[in-house]
């Protein structure tokens, strides 16, 4: 199986890639001094005691950016095969791709108009 042999390499890479950077961490864990105390381990907060829960509520803005990104990311699922086969396709493929991209840019234009892209 040609394809599996290819991916055996990638799989091995996925298994070994975390190990290499982990080596210095482990080494440091062995070598470095360990004298923990409460003040040292306190959460960094400019010298003030932490107030309240860390998981404070954040702006919905971040979610909206994530949302637009998700849509464009899924778009890639279709655009990559399209671009891949593009040279062997006829002019109709261009029109299909154009319509696809146009429909999606609509969403971007809407977000722009509604000032979703405005950082507040």
């Amino acid at each position: 199986m040609e394809i599996l042999n290819q991916w055996a390499f990638i799989g091995m890479f996925f298994l070994l890639a975390p190990i290499l950077p982990a080596v210095p961490i482990l080494l440091a864990a062995v070598i470095s001094p360990k004298k923990p105390n409460a003040i040292k381990q306190a959460t960094y907060e400019c010298g003030v005691e932490t107030v309240g829960d860390t998981w404070v509520q954040f702006k919905v803005q971040y979610y909206l950016y994530g949302l637009i990104f998700l849509i464009f990311d899924v778009e890639m699922v279709f655009l990559f095969p399209w671009a891949l086969a593009y040279k062997q396709l006829d002019f109709f493929a261009f029109l299909a791709g154009l319509l696809f991209i146009f429909l999606l840019s609509d969403a971007l234009v809407y977000a722009w108009r509604k000032k979703v892209l405005e950082w507040v």
Binding site: Y63, L67, V77
Partner: protein, 102 residues
Amino acid sequence: MVPLWMYLTVAAALFSIGMYGVLARRNAVAVLMGIELMLNAVNLNLIAFWRYLTPFNMSGQAFAAFVLVVAAAEVAVGLAIIIAVYRNRQSVEVEDVDMLKG
């Protein structure tokens, strides 16, 4: 190769776990995650059948891609609803969301 029924078993198990999550969890986000599991079980089935039965036909991969789109759309809207509900009710428990009862 690993026989087809093994893939199907994994997919069935994944589907059931996802279904349990959807039915049993209280938190709406957790319910959405359960739905994601179910959709992925479906995708696994699609690809497994495609590979074993119709590998020279595009339909399996194409349908899996469309399932992906539906999953993404569902997550986007689902999470947006959850955030909106949370803003109004300060809760994301499925049982608390009964505004339509009037």
